[in-house]
């Protein structure tokens, strides 16, 4: 077999490229062809960093870092300096990203092309974009309800299977910080979520009798009141939770003179959960004082229940000495309670993620405990009061997973001195309450079509649809988004949302730009066709290339090396970071771009002789290319169709030029 790719390595390992970086692959091929008698000049771009910080370098040839807009002229200057000293064999390469080439660098590029300076300009092209959720969005993960900022890469999150309508678990394969953006609040009867204007929701499109209703992804800005969106109804049944063993203190430890021998439970149980419910409402923990306390008056229902639960769980007798409070002094109990994640302070308590993974009966026990502390019956429903807004948010979502319907969070301020449940307020306090009641199990078999009028997913075990009641602008805040494999959606604040990638894309997939100092911006129009611009300058040789077709790239590099005058190569170099793709798909994407005619491979001699260098045998649709990239995920069907049309049109025009 004939090897067409030179074996020798010029570039060395140890550089700083991201895993799966197309740009580093491109450089490696280029240096293999050009060899050691080469001088590189690189303007501001990823490669300014990839080569390594002073005093390191990875390229193995002399490299002159230069200002953003000067790649072409710097190469020209270097070439002139070498020529006048008689070093005419040395190859001079300007190696730049797309910004330094298409935008700020275009003047010096045009100048060098016009002068036909004997240099090779290689533009490695990666493109990128973005979109997002508010930082306090709560995501339903396998390990329970978590803040979006706490979701880990690789963690499984609940998603909506778009084909079967089932609740499924999918891996989170990316977490993206999308910076400060304008955030809007979308409210339904039972759910609230904050997201950016371009965040997609799954909306029901009802069609009349005889026609099928179906779901479409719609961006927040296209949502209207009364649109029905998909929300989570119930979670899959959970298993008991095994606690992470904590390091227990023993007698003899530092400052531990005597120890309250207490049995710390290894896993959750109904009794423990009820006790913890009481704790959330009325308890506190001070680990430094080895103290756990409950604000329950002597002989009250709450206090009696606590004593009985305590006996069941810890096998100890609690004695209430104080009129209003029960204290337990145990360094290990304090440590245990503290480790559970309920947080401290009346205003800060939350329901930790693991509670969401419990089986229904344990969750019910927890709710019972909560009701005993700060809850009360109001007419036909239950009410729970708390000063912690986050607790109410998480409780609302928890109740929804066990078949309760929960109203919105009402907030009110009570003045100092007002009697609140058991005691008088010491100062003005703002807190909220939620109302909830058990949902009646609808008679699906009998009234399904009527039920479907209200909730299209009435017969779906895990999801339902709810009408949007309001959408309003909140403020600008930092945002994040997740990328979920497979379904590309996840459940945030109980609502099914699409993961992100991009927003308003341009007519073709080529659109915008990142540089080493990420200035993210996007365009609605086509990107400049740089090879056409170079051809218009009548340069001796210009071509497109892709790291997915290395032999073709090598051929073109060789041709550039042997041609005298100005040479320009436009190389497609997928960027997993910017494209929101899995690093392992870099080469695949570089191939798909060609196979879908998004990035046809051709060369132009003297600006007029066009030749296609790779003829695609099995042409694929652009959806195949988009499939592996997070950045295109939000595109609507119509947009994808439009893009496909543009690709087809542009390719037809190009085809006519080939000789």
């Amino acid at each position: 077999m004939k090897l067409t790719i030179p074996e020798r390595e010029i570039m060395q390992p140890g550089h700083l490229a991201c895993q799966g970086c197309g740009g580093s692959l491109a450089m490696r091929y280029a240096l293999k062809v050009f060899g050691k008698d080469t001088i590189l000049t690189i303007p501001a771009c990823c490669w300014s960093v990839i080569d390594g910080p002073f005093p390191y370098t990875a390229v193995g040839v002399p490299l002159f870092h230069t200002a953003f807009e000067t790649a072409a002229i710097m190469a020209s200057g270097i070439k002139a300096g070498l020529d006048i000293q008689g070093k005419t064999s040395t190859n001079v390469i300007a190696w730049a990203g797309d910004g330094g080439t298409f935008d700020i660098g275009i003047a010096s590029l045009s100048g060098a092309a016009e002068r036909n300076d004997d240099i090779t300009y290689i533009c490695y092209d990666n493109e990128a974009y973005m979109n997002c959720l508010s930082l306090d969005s709560l995501i339903m993960t396998k390990n329970g309800l978590k803040k979006i900022t706490e979701v880990k890469l690789g963690e499984e999150v609940y998603a909506y299977n778009q084909k079967t309508g089932e609740l499924t678990l999918k891996k989170c394969i990316g977490i993206f910080d999308n910076g400060v953006k304008k955030v809007f609040e979308v409210n339904t009867l039972h759910h609230t979520i904050k997201a950016t204007s371009n965040h997609p929701f799954l909306v029901l499109k009802r069609n009349g009798r005889g026609k099928k209703s179906y779901f479409v992804w719609k961006e927040l800005k296209d949502l209207m009141e009364d649109n029905e969106i998909v929300v989570l109804k119930k979670l899959m049944p959970g298993k008991g939770f095994k606690f992470n063993p904590i390091k227990l203190s023993k007698k003899g430890d530092y400052k531990v003179n005597k120890i309250n021998e207490i049995e710390i439970p290894e896993a959750s149980s109904e009794n423990l959960m009820e006790l913890l419910g009481l704790y959330v409402g009325d308890g506190w923990v001070r680990p430094q004082k080895a103290e756990v306390g409950f604000a329950l008056p002597k002989n009250s229902k709450g206090s009696e229940k606590l004593i009985s639960l305590y006996k069941e769980v810890f096998n100890q007798n609690l004695v209430q000495k104080d009129e209003s409070y029960i204290y337990v002094y145990s360094v290990n109990l304090a440590k245990f309670i503290d480790s559970l994640g309920f947080e401290k302070g009346a205003k800060n308590k939350i329901i930790p993620a693991w509670v969401f993974t419990l089986p229904e009966h344990e969750k019910e026990a927890f709710v019972r405990g909560l009701m005993l502390s700060d809850g009360y019956k109001f007419k036909n429903s239950n009410r729970y009061v708390s000063a912690s807004y986050d607790l109410l948010r998480t409780l609302r979502l928890l109740l929804q997973t066990i078949g309760y319907q929960v109203g919105k969070i009402h907030q009110q301020t009570k003045k100092k001195g007002t009697l609140c449940v058991y005691r008088q307020l010491l100062e003005d306090s703002t807190y909220g309450y939620i109302s909830f009641s058990k949902k009646k199990k609808p008679n699906i078999s009998k009234y399904l079509s009527q039920l479907k009028q209200r909730d299209f997913l009435a017969d779906n075990e895990y999801f339902s649809t709810e009408k949007v009641t309001s959408i309003k602008f909140i403020k600008e805040e930092p945002t994040l988004d997740l990328r979920v494999e497979g379904e590309h959606n996840f459940i945030a604040d109980g609502i099914v949302v699409h993961n992100t990638g991009i927003q308003r894309s341009s007519a073709t997939p080529h659109g915008a730009w990142t540089t080493t100092t990420p200035v993210k911006h996007y365009k609605k129009g086509r990107k400049k066709n740089i090879v056409e611009i170079m051809a218009a300058h009548r340069v001796p040789y210009t071509a497109t290339a892709s790291v997915g077709y290395p032999e073709d790239f090598i051929k073109k590099l060789k041709k550039a090396k042997e041609t005298r005058g100005f040479k320009f190569l436009h190389v497609l170099a997928p960027c997993p970071t910017g494209w929101k793709s899995d690093p392992k798909y870099t080469v695949k994407l570089a191939k798909l771009a060609v196979q879908t005619d998004v990035f046809p491979l051709y060369e132009v001699e003297d600006g007029i002789h066009y030749r296609q260098t790779i003829k695609v045998k099995e042409r694929k649709l652009v959806t195949e290319y988009f499939k592996y990239q997070g950045r295109f995920k939000h595109l609507k069907e119509e947009e994808v169709e439009f893009i496909q049309k543009k690709i087809d049109e542009d390719y037809k025009i190009l085809l006519k030029k080939f000789q």
């Binding site: 002073f54 005093p55 002229i73 270097i78 002139a80 070498l82 020529d83 000293q85 002068r115």
Partner: protein, 382 residues
């Protein structure tokens, strides 16, 4: 060999005699003649150099940087708007420690469009790390170019020679051109220790953390400090060759002066004549021409003015919001050293003519006054 040359052509000759190897330049009035002449010379084969006809001044400086980085002697010329456009790359050249020599024609910054003499353009570049020579005659321009390469290549810092638009750029003067053999003896070929060399591959200008950047700046400053003796030494060597000596300052009749006028550029030459006339009138006035402002010749200045009673600085520039730039720098040199009252005069901005009478007027005004003022506008027509 004596020739009558326009200031601009003196600059071209300077570059030619210095055997500049790569010229990367863009035309701008009133510098155009410099590059046109050079382009002609190169095309005719009279100068063995590469001429890159760049598309902007930013690229002009970039081209020089690229060429200089390979070890070639690079040259360019510009003025006002062009100098401003290449500002980013001026920093680059200096921080990259490349001994590029440039000619700048002092022209007023726009708007309004003015092609006439004003020093704001070159003074706006004081902080870039370039050495700055303010030439005041065509002879000065030619000699300074050769001297600049000598000094720059020793210190690895770029230099620009700047001179007044039209008053000097387009005025014919007699210039004595040293024979090229002499210049070759004085200025050997450029041979840097570090350059872009395929036999010694290195990266230049990479990502530099706070761990190293500070020391780069320190070394740059050290080079500037070392420049002062190097400039004098080169000046002495050149004197042996040509009989002409160039220093950082050129005092004229300052030894016993009561009033020292501090000037630069063509105004300095006019002031020399004015000083002679004032002396005839019995006034003890001297002229301190500042030729080089970076590195700043603080010690030399202090030595010259130590006995004088008053100083009047004449600025063909102004840093709006404060006052004349030469005046500012002089005052800061005096601080903690000598207490001499300084008057700051602004004159000739935008190419307004400065006559001998104007200088005498300034001198008389200063001699009569007892209260120094930072900012006195001469001849404002409002």
């Amino acid at each position: 060999m004596k020739k009558t040359l326009l200031g601009n052509y003196a600059a071209s000759w300077g570059a030619q005699l210095s055997r500049a190897q790569v010229i990367s330049a863009y035309p701008i009035t009133p510098q155009t003649l410099i590059v046109e002449k050079l382009s002609e010379i190169v095309a005719d084969g009279k100068l063995d150099a590469k001429f890159i006809k760049v598309e902007s001044e930013h690229s002009a400086m970039s081209g020089c940087i690229g060429a200089s980085a390979t070890g070639a002697r690079a040259y360019t010329a510009t003025s006002s708007q062009g100098l401003a456009l290449m500002h980013e790359m001026l920093h680059w050249a200096a921080l990259a420690r490349l001994p590029i020599v440039m000619t700048n024609v002092n022209r007023a910054m726009a708007p309004g469009w003015s092609i006439w003499a004003d020093q704001n353009d070159s003074l706006s570049q004081r902080d870039t790390g370039w050495m700055q020579i303010y030439a005041s005659s065509s002879q000065d321009i030619l000699d300074s170019t050769i001297l600049a390469y000598k000094v720059s290549e020793k210190l690895l810092l770029p230099t620009f020679i700047t001179f007044d638009a039209f008053f000097l750029s387009h005025t014919l003067e007699v210039v004595d051109m040293p024979p090229i053999e002499d210049v070759d003896k004085f200025l050997p070929p450029y041979n840097p220790e570090y350059k872009l060399d395929v036999n010694d591959p290195r990266s230049f200008g990479a990502l530099t953390s706070e761990e190293h950047y500070y020391e780069f700046r320190y070394k740059m400053q050290k080079a500037m400090e070392d420049a002062i003796p190097v400039i004098k030494e080169a000046g002495r060597e050149y004197e042996k060759l040509t009989g002409r000596y160039y220093d950082l300052i050129h005092p004229y009749r300052c030894e016993d002066a009561d009033l020292v006028l501090v000037t630069s550029g063509t105004i300095a030459e006019t002031t020399n004549v004015a000083v002679d006339e004032l002396r005839k009138e019995g006034k003890k006035v001297g002229n301190l021409k500042i030729r080089i402002i970076r590195p700043y010749p603080k010690e030399d200045i202090l030595r010259v003015i130590q006995k004088c009673k008053k100083i009047a600085v004449i600025d063909r520039n102004i840093s709006c919001g404060y006052h004349g730039i030469f005046a500012q720098e002089l005052k800061s040199a005096l601080y903690n050293e000598k207490e001499i009252p300084v008057w700051g005069y602004i004159i000739g901005l935008g190419g307004r003519d400065v006559k001998i009478e104007d200088i005498k007027n300034i001198a008389d005004e200063t001699l009569k006054n007892d209260t120094p003022r930072d900012l006195i506008w001469k001849g404002v027509k409002l």
